[in-house]
Symmetry: D2
Subunit: 347 residues, 4 copies
């Protein structure tokens, strides 16, 4: 049994992680911590755990956790993990960080986008970007995994094969992204007050959403040269689910089936990637409650563009599910263990 700890278990990502790990047959949750709810029983905060999970939130003691545990999941706001993690800890325990601190390879870019100092930039070289399907081999040998953001996961997986195979123009990429409200977390905010976002729709953080540099970094690596793209997130009045509509100009006249072969080349063996049939477009309802990434595409011959639709459950493949997928990889377990749920519908 893998002994696991969750730091920051009372946010939605922490809670989803708890839900998955409680049901994971190879994991025992030994320590859970919360700054705001220390000393409280977890199931008093999240009543869904009544009768199932009796742990009490503790004050965080990372040293002790490093000594006692096999893996620590961090589900914290940005800027905190970089103060807590160091090589001493990594010598003792594997760390999967669900926050942003180790996702960007470049300290300067991090500090520019997050407007805070990075306190352990010496680890940036070691940290592995935890997009499981793409970085599997690196994850396997890593001590520190930077779990990708939700928008990022869906965007990169949508475009990766096209860029690796040089099929689209690097300067033509537009990602119009839409997310359910759980992506905004549990902290109270007028924008996520029920009556302010229910039955409404908006774009937000135009040109300034922090997942942008992350997407650009990974797609630039795929393309072999720097990419600048437009990324526009929208808030959708629903709890869960994330969909990206990506647009790019094709570099050549190429058939649907040829592109399909490219997607198959990269994803056919991936259990968690499902390529839609021609003419069918992914919908968030078909991935809700699961770790699947669904993708489909269509070619617009009139304008020479390809349109790619990708879908995930933002709290699972976009956060906690992928973190557990990474853990499974790191500990050489069956990668699907504990995260092979059939999507729940209607839900």
């Amino acid at each position: 049994m893998i002994k696991a700890g969750i730091v920051g278990i009372t946010g939605y990502v922490g809670e989803e992680l708890a839900r998955i790990l409680v049901q994971h047959h190879q994991v025992e949750i030994k320590t859970i911590t919360s700054k705001s709810y220390a000393e409280q029983k977890y199931n008093d905060i999240y009543n869904n755990f009544n009768g199932i999970f009796q742990a009490t939130c503790e004050e965080e003691d990372l040293e002790k956790m490093a000594n006692d545990l096999d893996v620590i999941f961090l589900a914290l706001p940005h800027g905190i993990a970089s103060k807590k993690i160091n090589k001493n800890i990594l010598d003792k325990v594997k760390v999967i960080d669900l926050g942003a601190d180790y996702r960007l390879n470049d300290k300067d870019i991090y500090e520019q986008w997050y407007q805070t100092e990075h306190c352990s930039s010496e680890l940036l070289g070691e940290a592995v970007y935890g997009l499981s399907e793409i970085k599997r081999e690196d994850i396997k040998h890593s001590r520190l995994v930077a779990n990708p953001g939700c928008y990022t996961t869906c965007s990169i997986l949508s475009l990766y094969p096209l860029l690796k195979e040089d099929l689209i123009s690097r300067n033509s990429i537009i990602i119009d992204a839409k997310s359910g409200v759980s992506g905004a977390g549990r902290a109270l905010n007028i924008g996520t007050h029920y009556t302010e976002c229910n039955e409404s729709l908006k774009a937000y953080k135009l040109l300034s959403h922090r997942h942008t540099p992350e997407i650009e970094q990974e797609l630039s690596i795929a393309a072999g040269e720097d990419i600048s793209l437009v990324f526009t997130p929208h808030l959708i009045p629903m709890n869960r689910g994330l969909l990206t509509t990506s647009y790019a100009i094709l570099n050549q006249d190429i058939s649907y089936n040829d592109i399909l072969d490219v997607y198959k080349k990269y994803y056919e063996k991936e259990f968690f990637v499902r390529i839609a049939k021609e003419g069918i477009h992914p919908e968030t309802r078909w991935v809700k409650g699961s770790n699947f990434f669904d993708v489909g595409f269509t070619i617009d011959e009139r304008t020479g563009r390809i349109i790619i639709i990708g879908c995930i459950d933002n709290l699972i493949k976009g956060a906690a599910g992928q973190a557990v997928q990474n853990m499974n990889i790191m500990f050489e377990l069956d990668e699907k263990l504990g995260i092979s749920h059939v999507p729940i519908f209607p839900a």
Copy 2:
């Protein structure tokens, strides 16, 4: 491995059953049937099953299924099962009917409420009402289980201990019930067209909802005498979840703790029943995606009444989950097998 068949797999109850059984380690789904979608691949209808479940819907052949299978689940509109099931079939296979045909003990009451003839009333004596927590022993030895309705499950479990212990006045019961829209099924209807029920609220089928005689039958058995009660269902703009607010006059001056002891007497050992702490009231979000029934109550000393709040996921404990619970009981498996999911939140 138990060989199972699902008749009527393309309704929401059938689909939820498929989702649960696909993940059940002791079950193999051997046959699925659908009148409307015969010959079609199931995952083309429900894309959530893509990459997971490759079966094709067949025309129903109950004889063949009885010969080949260990258990048949029927998820059909009322009036059909009673034409299909007979002793010959029951000699060969166990049947769990998720429809209404075998729930009422009295043929006349059935025919009055459902306005259709009952074609196998000779089986009504044999059929066991499948409220797992209450009829466990009978279910264990049954060949034909009549799985309860969603409103019924929540209503009966809320009131059963109070009537068994003669704590409430039999003529004082009012059940004000509220259900998410999935309870209305997948058949197109103006009342469940998105824009007709979203952002609105209504009571419906006042005094005429067909779960009424079912609730009265089982509570009358519990009470030892005939009960007439008021049952008012309401449609709530959400996908899943069902909550009942039940009101009754207490027969005596009795404390909260004494009533709590009564609930514990009946439910303390029941994994799927969770009694809320004093002052906490069940909410549907804490049971969504699970087989739990959550219950809480409060006493109004001013009016001498007790108010009981009960919650279930209508498609799980209110339908497919309880059906699998009954199957586990019938086949002497661990009762929790395949249905012990932690409720998913926020979802």
Copy 3:
């Protein structure tokens, strides 16, 4: 033109009042105040007013407002109005208080339920309970109107004729009430965070909701003797709309038509009260965006009970609309002026 002021214009009730009054042909909004948003342009807070209403929020100066205006609307949390209003102010200006401070006739009951001192209880005798259809004559001559709560309006209008005519048992009343989330206001709260209440359902404040004494007070007056009833509010995942399902035991064997005549006696001439046809039950979607109160009922002969369904738009007939209706009455305008909108559907 009536010169009006709104104190507390940045809550939802204040905002709805602004929306109605901006379009009211006999009213000019001269002063708007907000504690939290003083000095800010109102349409920067509520962008729906862009291009329409250019006022700036001021610090409140009730003395000055009393001198300058004809009517002041107070849309404040409880406990504040009672500190601000006095006879000196009422000598100069009419006041319509949309808060709770002058609704209860009895200072002790107020202080018990609201857990705060009432600072101007000498005005309780003068204040008129502003349920327009029932207190019209008193409102006409009043200087201080206590506008009813949302649950209260719907509950009282549902039951008033039955109690006036002594048709129901006074101790048998149960009001199972359901409200959209806007009733909880704009203040941030975990319970009204989108992902915490969307797609869920709960009862709340059982036996302790502050609209209870208000309902009991007015229904006791109607009945001519003290009434204790059960009132259970529920939170429904929708923005607007409020529905009450009321239950009572009939005092006699009485026909549907005889009761219909009673409702007609009280409401037939009331523009804002619409009695549903037999067999049709009010739904919140048919009153949304309007000042209508829709009511319907059914008789349960088996249990001797009547079930009454009432519906309002909680922010209009349940708050701002009724306040304007009261203003129209006080200033001897056509009672429908500015509030005769057709309900908007689907919305």
Copy 4:
């Protein structure tokens, strides 16, 4: 008083038209027709009209209507109006068609996209495309107005000034559009069954939505040359509201303020167009229940693109409201009459 008739009053567009015209001081609705509900009282179909509007649906008799009325509104599925309207009718009555039949100037393009014959193509030259802000002078003298589609209105108004002033590259336009479910109408369909679209998100009709040729036609006229663009509609789980996120490459290095001046040039005097402040992006909640079109934009210097966000209430500015705006123009009334509602929030 203008005598008006509504053909097809029982769809959502017809119903919204009824709601607006019932409250319009210069209009009397003389005739309403419905194929499916002939002989039925309108308020029995739409209970929101109870107590307000007592008309009965008739069988359609266009000849008679032409003789008796001043204006006829057609709210019909495509392909029907073109069979009914002819010069004889137009000699007698003004016609505003809210369907698609007279929107496209080219019969062949119509027949290609709608897969049906156009039966009165001789009127295509006469019909005026009813985008009020842009075609006002033509509308004024027209007998036949083709009211634009909802997506079209929002898309064209967003991009028109940029194309008129040659500021964007004609081949670079991508419109990622999102609409609430009322846009899909009232006809029953599995895609708009509550539980199939609630809490989910999808793109649909990729490259094949029928508003595409309409947008291209009008933007080509604005640009002075043919435009091909990408238009991708998405279905959002909410009743009302439509938002377009448009992307284009700027032809030159140009400042925010210079573009703002261009928008002001075209829209500053338009009551129903509201330009957002810099940094603020339109949201559908701020236009709900109104005839406003809100627009805002941002410039991405990194990629040389402009992003324009536009918002409307799809049933008002996107259909019935604009139809009444056009009627006001045609009859030389104040253009705002009957449609100057303040957006309703929260709703």
